[in-house]
């Protein structure tokens, strides 16, 4: 067993899988998470069920956490942040800051899995009124309600009769510089619409979209299921404004299929907020001198054929730190990053021998 561990930064799905991968390959890992709990966004944001297979989030995350929490090869540090780094691979010296102070660790390589943050709808170029109207909420707000097992209008506490999702909030918006599709929102909106149907059987459900992007099996598992089984209305057209009229929130925009403006009163509107690089991702890119690609995520060296290697030897990324990523992307990248990190150590050892 080599002396110097792999430092995994971020305890979300990618970080958990990366730490497990490193341990399974016979190396040590130190997993650092700034929050007091592991699980990343799915736990912190109280996701109800994971897209696309509808697994209970806590159950699925606990399973991932369980694989490393009793593993002697993985040293888990929650409530800690990486604040400084010296040297270069395979002999990095990193400083960890936690509640009791700072400590220095020697690590051989690093996997940055600091993920994303949800787009703040207050920065939207459209006028959606998230900070003005109680009944305009985000995907993450909706997840919390779904997790609690009851879906109601925030303003009245009553079951909504008409619910609309608006796609691409903060994604595909060149006005604000977010020139990317966040990949998951269409699937999550479809998933949530199906879940809402379960809680509010009589509701009219709408999803307003620019292009509906249900990748791979999501087409069948989420999109058609929502449409055929759960009677969700998909309307091609971007909504530009939401305002209040009496007790309703009025959704205004253009139905591009019909080629005409539309104005539809709703009880609730759910904004499908996209992904942006998290503060942690930005911080770690600065700390480790990792160049960002043009969209602001951490750049990798090999394009589509190498999604985890950065320009700094011995530093790898996994998950949404490198760009919008769904769970499958994140976990797959984590496996690749773990194998690359271990291969890097192995090569370093062989070079010394």
């Amino acid at each position: 067993m080599p002396n110097l561990p792999v430092l995994v930064i971020g305890g979300g799905p990618a970080g958990l899988e990366a730490a497990r991968g490193v341990a399974d390959l016979g190396y040590k890992a130190v997993l650092v998470e700034k929050e007091s709990v592991l699980g990343g966004r799915p736990i912190l944001e109280s996701y109800a069920a994971l897209t696309p297979d509808m697994r209970n989030t806590e159950e699925a995350m606990n399973e991932m956490i369980g694989r490393i929490s009793n593993n002697e090869a993985v040293d888990i540090r929650t409530g800690a942040t990486v604040t400084a780094v010296e040297g270069e691979a395979p002999n990095f010296k990193v400083t960890l800051q936690n509640g009791s102070g700072a400590e220095t660790l020697d690590v051989s390589s690093v996997i940055v899995s600091t993920g994303f943050q949800h787009f703040d709808p207050g920065r939207e170029t459209q006028m959606y009124g998230y900070y003005e109207f109680d009944d305009v909420i985000t995907l993450t707000d909706a997840e919390k309600m779904l997790k609690a097992g009851k879906f109601v209008r925030p303003s009245t506490g009553e079951a909504p009769k008409r619910v609309a999702f608006i796609q691409c909030v903060g994604s595909r918006d060149r006005q604000i510089g977010n020139k990317w599709c966040s990949k998951v929102c269409c699937g999550i909106a479809s998933k949530q619409a199906s879940e809402i149907r379960h809680f509010v059987p009589d509701a009219k459900l709408f999803i307003f979209y620019i292009d509906l992007r249900a990748y791979g099996f999501w087409e069948d598992e989420l999109y058609w299921k929502a449409q055929e089984e759960n009677k969700v209305n998909y309307i091609r057209g971007i909504v530009t404004e939401i305002n209040k009229r009496g007790e309703s929130v009025v959704v205004k925009g253009e139905d591009t299929t019909m080629g005409r403006p539309m104005e539809i009163p709703m009880d609730m509107v759910i904004l499908s907020v996209g992904m942006e690089p998290s503060e942690g991702t930005k911080d770690m890119s600065k700390l480790f001198n990792l160049p960002l690609e043009s969209h602001g995520y951490i750049a990798t060296t090999g394009g589509a054929l190498n999604t985890v290697e950065t320009t700094v030897p011995g530093v790898f990324i996994a998950g949404a730190a490198g760009g919008p990523a769904d769970l499958e992307d994140s976990v797959s990248m984590a496996g690749a990053a773990a194998s690359r990190a271990c291969a890097f150590i192995r090569k370093s050892e062989m070079a010394v021998a």
Binding site: G122, A148, K150, I176, H198, R245, H295
Partner: protein
């Protein structure tokens, strides 16, 4: 399907609006036109006209700071205002004079020609850009900073700025024209609309108000040219609409103590529609009356509509005359934010604000505001008689305040 517990479900509702705190994250990952202008200046392509001191820095939509000059301003007037809402520019000048601010009212300013561009498409990018640059360069030569009265000009100039920044060939064409005019190629650091100045002045104006406006309800119409074209350049305040809508117009109305009532078509165009008013007037009239005025009346029942653009004011006000003949539920006075502010500070309703040019009967509103319109009208007629008889050629500022 995921369920939280096996017992009775716990209701978790999202935080109410009062608990949702919006914090701007600073600049978005996109171009900053100011940096680009300074880069072009560094290359010797143009001269950037600096915002003169004193100025106030305000937050724009995404958190960039915008400098709004208080004085030393070159007043780029509006064709539509000077033509048929003359109390609009005079209210702007009157307020500047009340505060003792240095300003310049040029006689060699041209129209921005945006209406021509919108309605008939007879213009072209080099002509449009050259007209903008000639006006700006004239301001620079005169030693003042451009200050745009018209929302259409303001929006159009912002788009022109974008074209000038991004198209070297266009810059070359403009440069040749400016060379022939023997003028510099100058462009302002900021494109400033008068309503932004009014916004940053709102507390100082409120300090000097002479009317109690607490019983006056206004509904606000924001100009598309102001907040939808190049939206990142519009002013937003965290304490007005929670930072989610532009704060100009609403800010001054609130500062003056009036009640601002919301309505569901706030974001909608007034009906002017850039070109509709010129090429599809029936649509404009119907839209203004049915989508805006009637909706305001139904949902907010205001005493007054406040707007901050020539076209909006004209469309919202004058469209009510025709639609009233069809028994539509119209009849709300319309004026600009700056006329309202001037009235609040004691400007004469007819000599300065020239409210007799407006279409909808505003006498009940003036009574509610505590203005004796009969006395004011007699004073105005007396002044008009002096001009009619040849005793004087025009009304002076001193006579306007007499």
């Amino acid at each position: 399907m995921s369920h939280a517990s096996n017992g009775a479900p716990t209701v978790i509702t999202p935080p109410k609006v009062a608990e949702r705190i919006f914090k701007r994250q600073g600049n978005p990952e996109k171009e900053d036109y100011r940096e680009q202008l300074f880069e072009l200046e560094a290359k010797g392509e143009l001269e950037v006209i600096r915002v003169p001191e004193p100025y106030v820095e305000v937050e724009t939509k995404f958190g960039r700071k915008k400098k709004i000059p208080l004085e030393h301003t070159w007043h780029h007037k509006s064709c539509g205002q000077c033509g048929h809402i003359p109390g609009y520019p005079t209210s702007i000048f009157w307020l500047h004079r009340q505060f003792g601010f240095d300003y310049f009212d040029p006689k060699d300013q041209t129209s921005c020609t945006a209406w021509n561009y919108y309605a008939s498409s007879t213009s072209n990018p080099p002509a449009q850009a050259s007209i903008a640059v000639r006006n700006f360069s004239q301001a620079h030569v005169d030693g003042y900073f451009p200050f745009i009265h018209c929302g259409t000009s303001y929006g159009h100039y912002k788009e022109t700025r974008d074209q000038i920044i991004h198209f070297p060939k266009l810059r070359e064409q403009v440069r040749r024209i400016m060379d022939r005019l023997n003028m510099p190629f100058a462009f302002p650091e900021e494109i400033v609309h008068y309503s932004e100045w009014l916004h940053v002045m709102r507390d100082r104006i409120a300090e000097r108000k002479v009317l109690d406006l607490s019983n006056v309800t206004v509904s606000v119409h924001p100009a598309c040219h102001y907040h939808k074209l190049i939206p990142e350049d519009a002013i937003y305040n965290d304490d007005i609409y929670n930072g989610q809508r532009t704060s100009v117009v609403t800010g001054i109305a609130q500062a003056l103590g009036a009640k601002v009532a919301d309505y569901s078509n706030w974001h909608d165009c007034c009906g002017f529609g850039f070109s509709h008013i010129l090429v599809n007037r029936d649509f404009s009239r119907s839209f203004a009356a049915i989508r805006k005025i009637e909706r305001m009346k139904e949902e907010a029942n205001p005493d007054l509509v406040l707007a901050h653009d020539t076209g909006c004011l004209t469309t919202l006000d004058k469209s009510q005359f025709a639609t009233r003949a069809h028994n539509r539920k119209v009849g709300i006075p319309v004026m600009s934010d700056v006329q309202f502010a001037a009235l609040a500070m004691g400007a004469h309703p007819y000599k300065v604000c020239q409210l007799h040019w407006h279409g909808v009967d505003n006498k009940p509103l003036l009574e509610k505001m505590g203005i004796d319109h009969e006395k004011a009208w007699a004073e105005f007629e007396e002044q008009a008689e002096k001009i009619k008889s040849g005793e004087t050629q025009f009304m002076t500022w001193e006579e306007a305040d007499a």
